[in-house]
């Protein structure tokens, strides 16, 4: 194999990274310059609006990305079905809202009142509880049934199993719940059209309650996770397993149990992201987890796989880039998804270890 042609190819292969990086960088600068300085199609309020929706989306991506990073750090596999775990959580939230809407809670003043609007806070908490429970259960059984028997198998086999699980869950929910999109009816106080209004350069910018709610909740969850991983015994065990499974085992860590709990934790975060998706986006169907799942993986790679703060940062970053990107580069909004995938390719070309660097144990590399 080591003949002249292949060594030439190798030389060019090494050149690809800097050359492609420079070219893409120049292109981006040129596009940004054109849009921001020459064309000036958007005023400041539009940018704020895009930025806000990016932040909110980024919070959800971050929550899902943490699940990918945790599992990748420990098992060195892309849990392809993680997006589907989030989707099932979203369905859990949707069904809770629908059920609560049918429970009457009439008062003398308001005979048509239902439980959802009579006790909105309890309803939202219930929806999150159900969504998180569903996702955590699915994550737990996914690991137990599909991944655990393959603990010692080659990684290709694990990845294929994960793809199989993803298709199974996606099609199961399509067959059971139907392929059409379902509208989620929020409690009235969390209606998607309501919120605080800011005035920026003469135009109103709506900061919706649902958006703020999602952003605050995802921030709280991330802080909670960080404390869990850094301060608790379980967190220390998780880090130990991620660093070196065999040594952790020798030190008395129950590796299987830690892996199981990792899947439950990532399921909890995905479930919360799913119900947030319900409340903020308002639409759910069987396909709702697929793209966010892949994008969240992109975010995890972007932040540095295996690195929890990296996943948070990567998620936020990706969300903002995705919603600012089409406008900033002056391309069609249809191509929003292309931006996310291009970022993945770009990150892998320019800096494959991610922004904050990956945290993976030596033996697995």
């Amino acid at each position: 194999m080591e003949n002249k042609a292949s060594s030439h190819l190798l030389k060019y292969g090494r050149l690809v990274r800097p050359v492609a990086g420079t070219l893409i960088g120049l292109f981006l600068v040129w596009r940004l310059f054109t849009v921001l300085v020459i064309e000036r199609n958007f005023s400041a309020d539009t940018w704020v609006r895009f930025g806000l929706s990016g932040l909110i989306l980024g919070g959800m991506y971050a929550l899902i990305a943490i699940g990918y990073t945790l599992v990748y750090g420990i098992m060195f596999m892309i849990n392809f079905a993680h997006g589907e775990v989030m989707m099932l959580g979203a369905f859990g939230g949707y069904f809770t809202f629908e059920l609560l809407r049918y429970i009457p809670a009439a008062t003398p003043e308001n005979p048509d009142l239902n439980f959802l609007n009579a006790h909105p806070i309890i309803s939202v908490i219930l929806a999150f509880a159900v969504g998180i429970f569903v996702s955590a259960t699915v994550g737990f059984f996914l690991e137990k049934i599909a991944y655990r028997p393959l603990r010692k198998a080659p990684r290709l086999i694990l990845l294929i199993t994960a793809i199989g699980a993803s298709f199974f869950l996606q099609n199961l929910s399509m067959l059971a719940f139907g392929p059409q999109r379902k509208n989620i009816i929020n409690p009235d106080i969390l209606d998607r059209g309501t919120g605080w209004t800011l005035t920026i350069s003469g135009n109103p910018v709506l900061i919706s309650y649902t958006g703020v709610f999602s952003l605050v909740l995802s921030a709280l969850l991330m802080i909670g996770l960080y404390i869990l991983v850094m301060r608790t015994k379980l967190g220390r065990a998780m880090r130990a397993v991620a660093q070196d499974k065999n040594t952790a085992y020798l030190m008395g860590v129950d590796v299987d149990d830690v892996i199981s709990k990792t899947f439950i934790i990532s399921g909890v975060l995905a479930g919360a992201a799913g119900v947030m998706w319900d409340i903020h986006m308002g639409l759910v169907n069987h396909y709702v987890g697929f793209l966010p799942g892949i994008k969240a993986f992109t975010a995890a790679v972007m932040g540095g796989i295996g690195n929890i703060p990296g996943a948070m940062l990567g998620g936020m970053f990706l969300g903002i880039l995705e919603s600012l990107g089409p406008a900033a580069l002056g391309i069609d909004f249809q191509l929003k998804d292309v931006i996310a995938f291009s970022i993945l390719v770009l990150v892998l070309i320019v800096r494959p270890s991610g922004i904050l660097g990956e945290k993976l144990s030596e033996e697995k590399l």
């Binding site: 298709f167 790679v301 590399l365």
Partner: protein, 515 residues
């Protein structure tokens, strides 16, 4: 006895979940229709098959349940009694699952509540069938009884088959005679006899020449699709089966080939109308180059990045093809029509029979290529890189370039398949290049036997041919693929026709993925 109880309980819960899930996704109706089909009664899709077939279907599930409960190692000298206990328990547990669901949905149906707003597959008729045409309480009790009885019968049957000396002897004898027949001197002689081999080849060739003329347009279409998937499978097998790099978005290269070919030969949107063969070669080249371009920055990274990047590439290609940005160049979501057909010496041959020949020739050429590659230095280098990259590099293999070559070749073969597909349909659009195509190909390679050429053939016939025969399960195909992938990876990761070359380090993760 304790093991038996536990086994029965576990199996019962598993099957209970399975039965309930089948009901929720409407598979009870389809299952009954399949049973009806076996008995020669055709049930049109959407209508409810006669009740007896449903009873048979549920009993079959129960029998399987009992057999599974009894199959596991049981303690005690006498296997019969613990097995029956396990079967009874499994049946009861499954039956309770089923009865509860039947009761709930029966009550809902009795109160005229349509659950189809939320669970689309459960029609009032299917609930009625699930309750055997009775009211909710009777129906659920019947369900419980039927599942229990059939489960006990299943466990009894399993134990009898396993312990009965006569039955066991029969199977042993059959297996022995089969092995003897294969390994007998005469059979070996016949297989090593060159003229017998040529006669067999001639027979296959004659069948391939005659059959497309006789079996009509429908089968030409179905088997043409199978042929294209064989080409795709052989292509994917190079990078995934031999070089060990999973490519999820294989359809991206398929799309590049199809669109390059289509744009060069179609009257709209560019009016190029090039010659078929030239366009075919350019389509193959374009796909190969796109594979090279994707591989250059990615292949020296960790293996699973290639999987996810190609997945991204497939989505990018599909979204771009659909977008307004590319509509002037690629005709957008409407797709490209009137794609050119093959011509040879001025004569155009575009009938389905002619095209079938073309596909057969392409399959033969690609499989010949694959066979030659497999035994070549390059092919062995791929397998070496797959099994242990560090060792492979130590023996002087350039892992990066050899993976790159594998990806480019795979992509080029996908381009060939794409061009053929576009030309046969005389149409190609963004919807022909969904991710499903790639997943189908991965499934067929894995099911057939990863890294094995005959396995690809088997996989393509099983996964693309069978669903054509079993039209009832059309909607459930992707679900079944998902289950198939999980089950195959657990029970038989090497596929139904495993590759002959032994995996040197089975069950150890390939190390040294990082360059």
């Amino acid at each position: 006895m304790k093991t038996a109880t536990r086994n029965g309980f576990q199996t019962g819960i598993t099957f209970g979940v399975i039965v309930v899930t089948m009901f929720l996704i409407g598979f009870t109706v389809i299952g009954a229709a399949l049973v009806a089909k076996i008995f020669g009664t055709s049930v049109s899709s959407g209508s409810i098959p006669p009740l007896p077939f449903f009873v048979i279907f549920i009993s079959l599930v129960g029998l399987w349940n009992g057999a599974t409960a009894a199959r596991r190692p049981l303690t005690g000298a006498d296997e019969f009694k613990p097995a029956l206990v396990a079967g009874l328990l499994a049946g009861l547990v499954t039956g309770i699952f089923s009865a509860v669901v039947a009761l709930v949905f029966g009550m809902l149906a009795a109160n005229k509540i349509d659950v189809r707003t939320y669970l689309v597959a459960i029609s009032p008729e299917s609930i009625k069938m699930y309750l055997f045409g009775q009211d909710a309480v009777t129906g659920s009790l019947l369900s419980l009884v039927l599942l229990t009885v059939s489960s006990v019968a299943g466990s009894a049957l399993a134990v009898t088959l396993r312990t009965n000396a006569k039955v066991r002897g029969f199977f042993q004898k059959a297996a022995e005679s089969y092995t003897n027949a294969i390994h007998s001197e005469r059979a070996i002689k016949l297989r090593n006899n060159p003229s017998a081999r040529y006669a067999f080849l001639a027979l296959v060739a004659a069948a391939l020449i005659i059959l497309p003329r006789t079996w009509g347009g429908y089968w030409n279409y179905v088997l043409g699709t199978v042929g294209i998937y064989i080409i795709l499978g052989l292509g994917l097998n190079i990078i995934t089966g031999w070089a060990g790099q999973l490519v999820i978005g294989y359809v991206a290269f398929f799309a590049v080939g199809a669109y390059t070919f289509a744009l060069l030969t179609a009257p709209a949107p560019h009016h190029l109308m090039w010659n078929f063969w030239l366009a075919l070669i350019l389509g193959v080249l374009a796909a190969g180059i796109s594979g090279l371009l994707i591989g250059l920055p990615i292949l020296n990274l960790r293996g699973d990045y290639l999987a996810i990047v190609t997945l991204g590439a497939a989505e990018i290609v599909r979204i771009l093809l659909k977008s307004d940005l590319m509509t002037p160049y690629t005709a957008g979501p409407r797709g490209i029509r009137d794609i050119g057909g093959p011509t040879l010496f001025g004569r155009s041959f575009t009938s389905d029979v002619d095209f079938m020949y073309l596909i057969i020739i392409a399959v033969l050429v690609v499989s010949f290529l694959a066979y030659r590659l497999q035994n070549s230095r390059t092919g062995k280098a791929w397998v070496a890189v797959n099994q242990d990259e560090t060792v492979a590099r130590a023996t002087g293999i350039n892992a990066y370039t050899s993976k790159l070559l594998a990806l480019a070749l795979s992509a080029a073969i996908a381009g060939l398949a794409g061009a053929l597909f576009a030309s046969r349909n005389q149409f190609t659009g963004p919807d022909d290049h969904q991710l499903m195509v790639a997943i189908n190909v991965i499934c067929l390679v894995i099911v057939g036997g990863i890294g094995n050429i005959p396995g690809v053939f088997l996989g393509a016939f099983a996964l693309k041919g069978l669903p054509e025969v079993l039209r009832e399960i059309e909607n459930y195909r992707m679900l079944v693929f998902g289950i198939l992938l999980i089950v195959m990876m657990r029970l038989r990761p090497e596929g139904f026709l495993p590759a002959k070359r032994p995996a040197l380090e089975k069950n150890t993760p390939p190390s040294g993925q990082e360059a």
